[in-house]
Symmetry: C2
Subunit: 327 residues, 2 copies
Amino acid sequence: MDEFYLIEKIKKIIKRRPRALVRGIGDDCAVVSPPQNRKILVSSDSLAEGVHFDFRYTSAECLGRKAAAINISDIYAMGGIPLYMILNIGISLNRGAFDTEKMIRAFSRYSEKHGACLIGGDTVRAKSFFLSVTVIGEAKTEHLMTRFGAKPGDRLFVTGFPGESGAGFYALRNPKKCRGIKSSEALKKRHLEPDLDPVKSRVLARGGVVSSCLDVSDGLVSDAGRIARESSCGICIEYEKLPVSGKLRDFSRKIKKDPREFVLYGGEDYELLFTAAEESAGETVRYCAKRGVRVSDIGFVTGRSGICIEKNSKKEKVDDSKVWKHF
Amino acid sequence: MDEFYLIEKIKKIIKRRPRALVRGIGDDCAVVSPPQNRKILVSSDSLAEGVHFDFRYTSAECLGRKAAAINISDIYAMGGIPLYMILNIGISLNRGAFDTEKMIRAFSRYSEKHGACLIGGDTVRAKSFFLSVTVIGEAKTEHLMTRFGAKPGDRLFVTGFPGESGAGFYALRNPKKCRGIKSSEALKKRHLEPDLDPVKSRVLARGGVVSSCLDVSDGLVSDAGRIARESSCGICIEYEKLPVSGKLRDFSRKIKKDPREFVLYGGEDYELLFTAAEESAGETVRYCAKRGVRVSDIGFVTGRSGICIEKNSKKEKVDDSKVWKHF
């Protein structure tokens, strides 16, 4: 496969060509017209073979789709909409059978589903396979949700059911132990093919009560740590209030694990974790529910730094090593 | 080293904070205000260990600086100026001694030298080391230089002295053969620490005669192939007109190689390769020279596809396998 062939293929894969795109794939840069009366959002994430995905259970399609989803999720977490995607691929020489075209197609399709268009990138050889994605989006200034506005006394919320993806990952890594557990299939799918609901972000961004927000990618505890750090405060998670889905409950019972461990430390949920002032807490839950977005009130913001978990009316501080990613 | 430590370090490394930057490192996305009356340029490049660089002769500083330079070069090649840099790092576990901080510092310094600011990115673990950089810039519409405007009859030009970087790379890979050759030191430096001159791009973009342009990254022949393909034409390079610097001439004589092979196939020069109408050819060279930019008239655009080299009044077509990058 040569570069020329691949570029021509990619050009054909792309269906949607936004009007603001002046020049797409094929030049030194992609050229776009700037959005009017909007802020520009930029985010970037990398996925490396053997660290973020395993080709034993990740297909080319799943990988492409997931690479798009986790990046678009960052735009939604800020209250924006995605516009342009840039995809860099490091193709390892020992991965001849891997279908790069299928991966790019899945990446492009999923991006287009969310209104974004693949406009550029780079394909290189590498010793081990990696993907780096940059997404560019836009948001109205008044819709921006950042990580730095949480205040002591605010309540902590999360959308949907975090923990399912983490449980699915566990099932993928422990196939013998999980054989025959019916609920594990849906959980695995949740891990391999995360699906984003733009409505969650839109409802929160327009609701006007969110004081801080991010998407849960590394686990509830880690990501609460990020809000705490950026907002110079602490966060207390109330263990008994954590939402546990029926599937996760069933799965956890069968493998004899506490489902809430998946909720706290699982990661890759791409649900939104956010804070809002205590006085608007009840209203926030009702407002979201009315618009089809399930949110759970799971804790509160404190004046002391760090993350703690309140369980059986006892508070316990989470060790920093469980909060921050290590290299 | 944990994530928190690294993010705090990076925040301190960044000296320049442009006014248009609403939110930098620390959130799901960086947030910027869109430029007014300008187009936005976006480009992305990846570098993989063992393919694009070798830690045996590439220091952390050189790598950081080069990663910034090759991306900024794409912005200059379109006639724009760089504004924002996004840096993704895949850190391999077996590279404990590598100084990530030094690399980021060099990346940030070089970007700032060219007016651009590091605003975000991602740091992940990986099986082998890689960098993916995205650069966002801006250009006035009338200054845009693309790859698709070359017309049969146009002349082909190149700035400076391509081939020096390729010769430096040869010297790095063949230390025994090149020991004692004085000129090799400057050539090696040219390869390891490419330096960009924004004046070249500015002069060409404002001159108003350029019909197509790109930066020479994969070699003169490869990159002429890109102009030819995007402009649906062919290009003929006149061998005898290729510029050869004194250093390259000296080095090539000592290793008994044709210096023009480095000029044609070396790569990583980051000089600008461009076309202009024949009637403005002489004027183009004089206009550039007056502004301190050396350009050489090295060939012409043809109506037939592909790249050919004219040597001793004989034209020979270059095989496509020498033009396109293979994976």
